[in-house]
Symmetry: C2
Subunit: 136 residues, 2 copies
Amino acid sequence: MNEIFSLLEKNKLSRTPCRIEVLKTLKLAGSALSEAEIREKIGDHFDRTTVYRTLRSFLKEDVIHSISLDGGGVRYALSPHKEVAHSSHHVHFFCNDCNSVYCISHQAFETPELPKGFMAESFDLLIQGSCRKCKK
Amino acid sequence: MNEIFSLLEKNKLSRTPCRIEVLKTLKLAGSALSEAEIREKIGDHFDRTTVYRTLRSFLKEDVIHSISLDGGGVRYALSPHKEVAHSSHHVHFFCNDCNSVYCISHQAFETPELPKGFMAESFDLLIQGSCRKCKK
DNA sequence: ATTAAATTTGCAACAAGGTTGCAAATATTT
DNA sequence: AAATATTTGCAACCTTGTTGCAAATTTAAT
């Protein structure tokens, strides 16, 4: 709980109920959640708009990051700690069975060569398959 | 033009005006387009619904594939020829300046190790940066 | 502790992207 | 050419996300 307060403070975000709840929820989840999932877990205490605005503040300060899925959905997850973050290489895993999304932001990976004239700034890898819970 | 007809035939898709126009548009574009862009290029001859249904048929038969962008948008592009396709490694490039999306499906790339218990089936890499036209 | 100023919240309304049901219009099969 | 199967357009709807505005809450200043 203190971690949550200090996360807010560190990023100059005021300590409001919605922000606290959203952070708690994301922290507890361990996997990346959609806005609908977040609101469902919190239990309908806040307006949809408020949650979206909260997410936007968090995104702006890099407290969370968003993951765009194959087929259009978006999930939100706590960002890794500052040292590791912003490495410009992001890896996420989507489980085709349970639809969970995990951040595998730890290791880097070899990037392919680009055609002449292209200049890369960031790399986002989405791996799809079966997660450890669903593998049979 | 004949290529388009044979693409449809090969995939058992009837030769309808909308299908022909969408294929022509995607072929001409060279980069991946959103449904709105496709319809705009065609010139408002078909209903939004019809274009979406056309895209869905194409996706099902792997005539085209979809690319989910960072931040939520989706683009559609002709699939590479069958021999290359389905390699389970897909690479796309998004230009932050002109918003174009290019398919770089040619070369494979090294994939990172996954935590124990995870089993990968496909890899989608989205690279963001400046394309050859926009690099200064 | 109180007040004033700055932020955040809820609500209603809206926009973009995408889907569904159904009847009319086309294609395909025979 | 007739019968059957597909595709089309329309209206309606869903989800995700945003905006404007007034009311409520936080934070800063006294």
